[in-house]
Structure formats: structure tokens, C-alpha cells
């Protein structure tokens, strides 16, 4: 089981910095890179899935109600989904404004 990289000491690192656990990039929180986050207006959404297709981080997942929602653990806030959305249903909002 891997742990956050700031917890590793030099003695614990595998020789050559080899990563022995495949696919552990999924545990890396790229979400804390963002300053803007996507907000979906469900009323405008036509379920076309373009946001899901264009998302470079594969952050979008289909929820039980049939909407594609960005997983903010991975979303870097690039805004490509908002740019590509054909109905303008996604807007990028400064994260702090939510509070």
C-alpha cells in the first residue's frame, strides 16, 4: 500500500525510485491544482457526454441520474468541459466563492 510522497524517507524508497504498485497514480490528488471548478446546470444538460470525452484527466463519471459529474479529487480545473459543452451547461466557478 502506498502512502503520500511527503511521508517517504530516503531509506524506504525502492532502489532506483521504482514504483512497485502499478496504477497508483489514481491515488494522487491532482484536484488540489485547480482554482476554478466546473458546475453543471442540470436544466441545460442534454447528456451528450462531450465533457466526459474531452476531459484530459478522465475526471468525469456518469452518475445514477444520468448526468456526467466531475470528480473534484482529480479535476484540475482546466475548463475544457465548459468550453466544449454545446449548451453552455457547465460554468467554471472560483472555488472560494462556494464557501
Amino acid at each position: 500500500m502506498t502512502k503520500p510522497e511527503y511521508e517517504w524517507t530516503w531509506k524506504e524508497i525502492p532502489v532506483g525510485n521504482v514504483i512497485l504498485e502499478p496504477g497508483n497514480a489514481s491515488q494522487y490528488r491532482t484536484g488540489d491544482w485547480k482554482s476554478l471548478k466546473p458546475i453543471l446546470d442540470q436544466g441545460k444538460c442534454i447528456h451528450c457526454g462531450l465533457c466526459y470525452i474531452y476531459c484530459p484527466d478522465m475526471a468525469y463519471n456518469l452518475n445514477e441520474e444520468g448526468y456526467f459529474i466531475a470528480d473534484l479529487f482529480y479535476c484540475k480545473g482546466c475548463g475544457i468541459c465548459a468550453k466544449e459543452c454545446p449548451t453552455g451547461a457547465i460554468s467554471m466557478v472560483v472555488e472560494e466563492e462556494e464557501k
Binding site: E5, Y6, T9, I13, V15, G16, N17, L20, P22
Partner: protein, 390 residues
């Protein structure tokens, strides 16, 4: 005693690579390394050596192929010179960072400009900090021997670092010397098949060469630094084991008539044999002169060097490369080794024999004379390019 046979040093180097059961050779020909790879390609093409020979389009690719093959667990070899090494330099840091025990021979040659094919150590110095264990050898037999020493050392689980064998281009690579070849059974015993700690294999995927953020980079470099620093006992152990097998005992610092000597010549590479002739002549004249030869360049053998150097009054360090703007790189290391001592020898530095200019025993005698006079006059850390026409 094994029978001695005459052989070109490059051919003997290639024969050693064959006897070391290397699995992958990837190299691009460049003077003066060419005969080594030519002979290896013949050995593979004739079925005398069971290895893959990769004809690549550049030295950058040559070492990149070795990184890939070594990562799968294949014993890999490359060799180059000068501009080829410069093109390869990016990958030298990657091989050591990934802790891949590749062995490379460098037939040392001058870096351009001006363009030159002849010998000096400017190529080796350009990658001085690349993290490989680095030897400088003195003669053909040592080139042959160090191939086995290097693989045994590199692949040790406590080391896992690539190794460079520096041999002077032409001065060694193109001369015919007497060799004592080692029986294959002995080599197989000394150098068992490579057992990688980690390797790329589709059945058990791992990642090598991943991106590292600042949060983990320093920890990785510390692990690498500790690995090369603490490889010293293992280096001594392997050199001892090799000596027990062949009777040829090598040490990180070699000495010749250094006991009771006031002035020591300090050399690296093939200078050593010529300088020893000069020492004999000076001793015949009653002069108190000895010779210290640096075999191991990285990790730098500070302790061994100090044991010898601190007994002398004067060190005459002969560099075969210039760190332009600073002087000779070997002298710089020697001075660093002595810095902590209030009573320490004076260090006079000559840069000599660059771009293959001959340095004869009489030149070493002139350098000793000049250094002793300069030091006597109070110039305790002089530096000059020897033999330059004014």
C-alpha cells in the same frame, strides 16, 4: 602461470565482454573506440557470442537501448569516446538514477573544439558528476580485468550502480600488449548470472523512471548518494576477490616508491607507467620522489589518498584535462582531500598531454624539477599548462 599472448587492447576488451557473458551490446562506432565494437559485432555475427547487437543511429540511442535492456534484466554493454559521450551524457544520469548496472568503456578522447581525435580526459570530466562508479586504468591487462570487476561490482545488490572504465584512447586502445587471459570457468565462478532486484516484465508490471515531485526528489538523490559512498567496502571486496583469483591485486589508489618520498607525482590513467620510469630515473639520482596513481575516480577515495599524500611534502598533480577557468580537475579533488589538515603537502598542478601530446619520462622529470623550485619559492598551489610554446 597462465600463458601470455599478444593482443590489441581493444580486441582484448571485446573478448572480455564476450567472456563476461554480456546479453546486449548497443554501440555506435567512434574513433578511438571503434575496434572494440567492430570486434564485438564480428563475435556476435559469427555466432561466437550469444548476445543481441543493436546497431543504433547515435550514442544517445546506444545508451538508451542499454537502459531498456538492463531494465529487463539483460547484462548490457556499450562503449564510446569524446563527442559520442557528450551526446550520450543525458542518458548517463538516467542510468545511474535508475540504478541500472550497465558497464561502459570509454576510450578517452579530446572533446572538440578544436576538433581532435587524440587522447585526453576531457570527455570523462564532462560527465564527472553523472553518478557512475568510474575507474581509470593504466594498461591493457587492466582494461581486460576491469570488465569482470565492473560487472561483479555493478550488479551487487548492495551497489546496483553503472560503472565506467576509462582507458586512454590510442595510447591503450590501439597498441598491442601482452595479456594473461582468464579461463572461462574461473570467470563464470567470479561473475555469476545477473539477478536483478527489479525488472520490467509483463507478468509483474512496475514503473521505472517515473516523475518525482520536489517532495520526494531529494530523498531519491540521498539514497543514490549513500549507495555510491557506501560502495567503497564492496569495491575493496571485489578487487580482493579478483586478486585472489588472478594474483593481480588492484587498489583504489596505487603507489610506487611512495614510502619516505618527499615529492609525489600524482597521475590517472596510462600516465602512470611512463611516470614510473621517471621515478626510477630520479631515484637513481638520489632524489626522494614517488608516484601515486588514482585508479578509482568516483567514489573518490579520499581516505586512501590521504594516507599516502599526507606523508609527502610536495604533490605534483598531472591532469590530462582542463576545467577551463579553474585548472586541473584531479588537482582540485586532491586539494579538497587535504583541506582539513593544518600540516599538508603543497600541491603543484600541471595540465599535460592534452589532445594526445606525448608526455615522456623526461617531461615528468622536468615537471618535478619545476614544481620543487616553484614550491621552494613559496608558490604552494601553482597551476600551469605544461609545454605550451610561449
Amino acid at each position: 602461470m597462465v600463458k601470455r599472448i599478444g593482443m590489441e587492447v581493444s580486441i582484448a576488451a571485446a573478448e572480455a565482454v564476450k567472456q563476461a557473458n554480456v546479453d546486449v551490446i548497443s554501440a555506435y562506432p567512434i574513433t578511438p573506440q571503434t575496434h572494440i565494437v567492430e570486434h564485438l559485432s564480428e563475435l556476435v555475427a559469427n555466432g561466437e557470442m550469444d548476445a543481441e547487437f543493436f546497431c543504433v543511429e547515435s550514442e544517445h540511442s546506444a545508451l538508451s537501448v542499454c537502459v531498456g535492456s538492463e531494465a529487463t534484466g539483460a547484462r548490457s554493454f556499450t562503449c564510446t569516446s569524446a563527442q559520442g559521450l557528450a551526446l550520450m551524457s543525458e542518458i548517463t544520469y538516467i542510468a545511474s538514477g535508475l540504478r541500472l548496472p550497465i558497464v561502459m568503456i570509454i576510450a578517452n578522447r579530446t572533446l572538440s573544439a578544436p576538433l581532435s581525435i587524440w587522447n585526453d580526459h576531457s570527455d570523462a570530466m564532462s560527465i564527472r558528476d553523472c553518478g557512475w562508479i568510474q575507474f581509470f586504468v593504466e594498461n591493457g591487462q587492466e582494461v581486460y580485468d576491469h570488465v569482470f570487476i565492473s560487472y561483479r561490482l555493478a550488479e551487487d545488490r548492495e551497489v546496483l550502480l553503472p560503472v565506467i572504465i576509462n582507458m586512454d584512447g590510442f595510447t591503450l586502445s590501439h597498441v598491442i600488449e601482452p595479456f594473461e587471459l582468464i579461463e572461462q570457468e574461473k570467470i563464470d565462478q567470479f561473475l555469476p548470472p545477473y539477478q536483478p532486484l527489479y525488472r520490467l516484465h509483463p507478468d509483474r508490471p512496475i514503473t521505472m523512471g517515473a516523475f518525482a515531485l520536489p517532495a520526494i526528489f531529494a530523498e531519491t538523490k540521498k539514497a543514490q548518494e549513500v549507495a555510491i559512498q557506501s560502495s567503497m567496502p564492496k569495491i575493496l571486496e571485489v578487487l580482493k576477490a579478483f586478486g585472489d583469483m588472478t594474483g593481480r591485486y588492484y587498489r583504489p589508489i596505487e603507489t610506487y616508491k611512495t614510502e619516505d618520498a618527499d615529492t609525489l607525482l600524482v597521475t590517472m590513467g596510462s600516465f602512470g607507467e611512463t611516470a614510473s620510469v621517471a621515478v626510477d630515473k630520479l631515484r637513481d639520482e638520489g632524489r626522494s620522489v614517488g608516484l601515486m596513481k588514482i585508479r578509482l575516480w568516483r567514489p573518490f577515495p579520499f581516505e586512501d589518498l590521504k594516507k599516502v599524500a599526507l606523508k609527502a611534502k610536495n604533490l605534483v598533480v598531472i591532469d590530462r584535462a582542463i576545467s577551463v577557468g579553474m585548472g586541473g580537475p584531479v588537482a582540485s579533488e586532491v586539494k579538497a582531500a587535504l583541506y582539513g589538515y593544518d600540516v599538508r603537502p603543497s600541491v603543484y598542478n600541471f595540465v599535460a598531454g592534452i589532445s594526445g601530446r606525448d608526455v615522456a619520462p623526461s617531461d615528468f622529470i622536468k615537471m618535478v624539477d619545476k614544481a620543487e623550485i616553484e614550491i621552494e619559492e613559496g608558490n604552494r598551489e601553482g597551476y600551469e599548462l605544461y609545454g605550451v610554446r610561449e
